[in-house]
């Protein structure tokens, strides 16, 4: 709306009982000589006799960000200086500067929802505002033909990871942006391989397509920030022929607040937050960064987690401090940890009744990552289940203790790991023949607690071979 009328503005609709109730009050304001403009959202003749302005197209209501009717506002020098929603006698008297309003009416009565908030109406208004350049959104609007199916358009334009995406309409993107306090134009990261500046708005658009709710957006933003650091090196993670893709581990209160799964089927399907946050990150890399399989993404195999790979640590049931705390953030801080991950592998151990036996099992399984004869090559996330965790808790093994035990059990004799040993050409160079070699350094082993309460299993999630290509990165999730 180009120009706000000075003085008082009341926004009403006939369909609202409170608006009908306060018609006499509007009459009193007029009679008192107050400069009053009445916008009516539905019936242009309501309220009768008070010469309302027809706002059934909702242009004024949208511009004034009306959420409730009736709303009374005061405009001074083109700015809204005060406002009140619903009917509250004292507030109306304060905003209008007129006393003794609505004698005989109850002192207060809640209002009704503004028509601008009705889902279908809101969508039309948001689209109109984007087309008119009246929103903070700066992404290019792409107009569809009448017969175009927006989901098929997203496929045809190469925006999809292979699954249908939610069409990123202006209304959905504006709603998504309500999930963060950050400005839409703020640059979150520069995304390889195109090194394109990625704004909060672009993250929001891709989060819409992935199926996120607005409250997930801060987690997606933190994941994008972490992925695009030099340390994590998403460019290398993308370009390598190796299996890996970005995995997101979520810690802190945000995980529970947005309904993330840390329990049964924690690495599997079925939880919206887990599924869509990981997917949103990958869509940002694909769409903003231009990282697409067969182009810069040269993975020989990849793995299904490259569609989405995101879960929360089970902190409440854990024998240990959360991963994010171990990695330097204060307890109670929400955080993401990015890890360049292969697909998960099973560790089965249903017989161990001592931690020593369990640690030996873990070590035997970890030896195969990524090959039994390669040492010192990669990071690993060890996801310890509640049933295995109980054994470790009862034995009072800290994470550091567990790591030391695993490192000690995986000191491998050089004669076993050199190229040609055991009839296998793969292995370490001949210089490794003398002495013993650590399969992992303690800092290569990231330990988290997750999974369903039943099952004497744990999971290995191996990282990228060739250490140094990508290091795990932890970032605080900020609102």
């Amino acid at each position: 709306m180009p120009e706000l009328p000075e003085g008082l503005i009341a926004v009403v609709k006939q369909d609202c009982p409170t608006c009908r109730l306060i018609v006499p009050v509007l009459g009193e304001l007029r009679a008192a000589g107050a400069p009053l403009t009445i916008f009516t959202q539905d019936d242009p003749a309501f309220p009768p006799g008070l010469s309302p302005v027809d706002d059934s197209a909702l242009g004024a209501s949208w511009s004034l960000a009306i959420e409730t009717v009736p709303t009374l506002l005061r405009v001074e020098q083109h700015r809204v200086t005060s406002r009140t929603e619903g009917w509250q006698r004292e507030a109306w008297e304060r905003v209008s500067g007129v006393g003794g309003l609505g004698a005989g009416l109850p002192a207060h009565r809640p209002g009704c929802g503004s028509r601008t908030l009705e889902p279908a109406v809101r969508d039309v208004l948001a689209t109109r505002a984007v087309e008119a350049g009246e929103t903070p959104l700066r992404a290019r609007p792409i107009a569809l033909g009448e017969l175009e199916d927006p989901i098929e358009t997203a496929f045809a334009r190469g925006w999809s990871d292979g699954l249908p995406v939610v069409p990123p309409t202006p209304a959905r993107v504006l709603r998504m942006l309500e999930g963060t306090t950050r400005a839409p134009a703020e640059v979150v990261a520069v995304v390889p391989p195109d090194y394109a500046a990625c704004t909060v708005e672009k993250v929001a658009i891709n989060a819409v397509m992935a199926g996120c709710l607005p409250e997930y957006l801060p987690v997606v933003i933190a994941a994008v920030e972490a992925a695009c650091t030099d340390a994590f090196n998403i460019h290398g993670v993308l370009a390598t022929t190796y299996f890996v893709g970005p995995m997101v581990i979520v810690n802190g209160p945000v995980a529970r607040a947005i309904g993330m799964n840390s329990g049964v089927n924690v690495l599997g399907q079925g939880t919206r937050a887990n599924a869509t946050i990981g997917r949103a990150l990958q869509l940002v890399i694909r769409n903003v960064g231009g990282g697409r399989p067969g182009e810069v993404d040269r993975a020989t195999f990849g793995h299904p987690g490259k569609y989405t790979f995101c879960f929360a640590e089970d902190e409440a049931g854990s024998p240990w401090e959360p991963l994010s705390v171990e990695r330097g953030l204060a307890p109670g801080t929400s955080a993401v940890t990015l890890f360049a991950a292969e697909g998960p592998r099973a560790i089965v151990d249903q017989r161990s009744r001592t931690v020593e036996s369990l640690a030996a099992s873990y070590a035997a399984c970890l030896r195969t990552v990524p090959h039994p004869k390669l040492v010192g090559g990669c990071d690993v996330v060890l996801a310890v289940s509640p049933e295995h965790g109980r054994l470790l808790r009862e034995a009072e093994w800290s994470k550091a203790h567990l790591r030391e035990e695993l490192v000690r059990r995986l000191m491998l004799p050089g004669a076993e790991v050199v190229q040609g040993a055991g009839g296998i050409a793969e292995g370490m160079p001949e210089t490794f023949r003398a002495g013993t070699w650590p399969k992992f350094a303690p800092e290569n082993l990231l330990v988290v607690h997750a999974g369903g309460s039943a099952g004497l299993f744990s999971a290995i999630i191996p990282g990228w071979i060739g250490r140094g290509g990508s290091q795990p990165v932890t970032r605080e999730v900020k609102p």
């Binding site: 992404a139 290019r140 609007p141 792409i142 993107v173 869509l283 769409n287 231009g290």
Partner: protein, 93 residues
């Protein structure tokens, strides 16, 4: 929900309007497909076109949609994709 306008999720390096597939600079050595969509007399027009092209030494392959009222079935699309380099479609009667 209106889905008439979408916001571009990309780095905006490519134009909004998608370009047509690149046109060949010459038909030499190209297999020319002729797609009859089953509109009346389309076969006559395309038959004459085939004669002209073959006279000029081009290789011509014919394709046919079972009905013009529906999109081409997958097997026709596949045959077109795999069977020729360029395509001429008889659209109207």
């Amino acid at each position: 929900m209106t889905e008439r306008v979408l916001l571009d999720p990309t780095g905006e390096r490519a134009p909004v309007r998608r370009g047509r597939a690149a046109r060949p600079s010459s038909l030499d050595g190209k297999v020319i497909g002729l797609l009859d969509i089953s509109k009346p007399r389309g076969d006559i027009f395309l038959g004459r076109l085939a004669e002209v092209l073959e006279t000029r030494g081009h290789r011509v392959v014919r394709f046919r949609k079972p009905t013009y009222t529906k999109p081409a079935p997958p097997e026709v699309r596949r045959a077109v994709r795999e069977g020729c380099d360029v395509i001429v479609e008889g659209l109207a009667d």
